[in-house]
Point group: C2
Chain length 195, copies 2
């Protein structure tokens, strides 16, 4: 069955192009010309939808990406009940996404953090994305009544961001899988001991 | 007492400048012109010491940085005996280094991973740095007879790399401290239970 897929409107194509470019090389690779080339949007429509230019595109793209990742994390975490299983499935999910991008696409929010001098407003946007994802993980851990859910959620988030960094150098999703298994095992033992 | 400090020779100044620039913005910020400006080395000496240009400078700078970090990790980890205390002191050490760079300097090896398309040889250099640091941590954990030392060392390394990413957005060393305390607590409970 072949379902014809409508092309996205120019505004959405611009935001999707910005997200894709940020994942590859951060802010430096997401210039107006690269966004125009990848989105195939007319230059006129770019400035019509984003009168603030690159800064506005990047800010809106990061907000969209942040929301999308939070929703995906929430859905994945909802599939399991115990804290250990929740953490294991989350890392597997991110590992598979990373692999589907040929192990060469980072987290868009993480990737822009090297270029915050250029655009200080993005510092807040990236920090807000991290806070939102941490809270999503923490909420699930709290529901399963684990001690110290906030700090543990922070470790999970840092480990995911670091696995992107290692994964690109190692051209492998191994860092994600290793982290998921190891953290899940540590938490499991801890829970059993407390329980 | 005022001890006069000899200026470094040009070759060393070039490598130190390359490391400092990579920590700030990765490969894109470490161009020949920026390296010359920061090192105050004459252009002639740059091409005399590094006939391979930017690629050679970056490769040698990463090797130097990798060795230096491995040595520092080894020294810090040697100060404590138990796995939990080793992990706690390692994260505190990296947190303080991060803070002394105004929370705006990343790991040089981590920072270049966004730009590996440009210079594939660097992928291997970054991966070798990560492998060397992971092995340094793993050796200390094995000595204290913890189960699964390799995987745990991998998680420690990923979490450090991710804490740099979060730390720059959050302008804070909190992600490092949170990770050190949380991982140390998890390991401690696990060890006590096994012991």
């Amino acid at each position: 069955v072949c379902i014809s897929k409508k092309p996205l409107p120019a505004k959405d194509r611009i935001l999707e192009a910005a997200i894709e470019l940020m994942k590859k090389t951060g802010l430096t690779g997401a210039g107006i010309n690269q966004i125009l080339a990848l989105s195939r949007a007319p230059k006129g429509s770019l400035y019509y939808y984003f009168p603030g230019g690159k800064d506005q595109i990047i800010a809106e793209a990061l907000a969209l990406y942040s929301q999308r990742v939070a929703t995906a994390f929430d859905q994945v975490l909802s599939r399991e009940q115990t804290p250990a299983e929740k953490i294991r499935i989350l890392f597997r999910f991110v590992a598979d996404r990373f692999e589907s991008g040929s192990c060469q696409q980072s987290c868009a929010a993480g990737a822009v953090t090297l270029d915050l001098d250029e655009a200080p407003a993005l510092q807040k946007a990236a920090a807000m994305a991290f806070a939102s994802w941490k809270e999503t993980v923490a909420r699930h851990l709290r529901q399963s009544r684990i001690a110290n859910a906030e700090a543990l959620a922070g470790v999970v988030l840092s480990t995911i961001e670091g696995a992107y960094v290692r994964g690109r150098a190692e051209a492998s999703k191994q860092a994600f899988l290793e982290a998921g298994e190891t953290l899940a095992t540590l938490i499991q033992k801890k829970s059993r001991r407390s329980g």
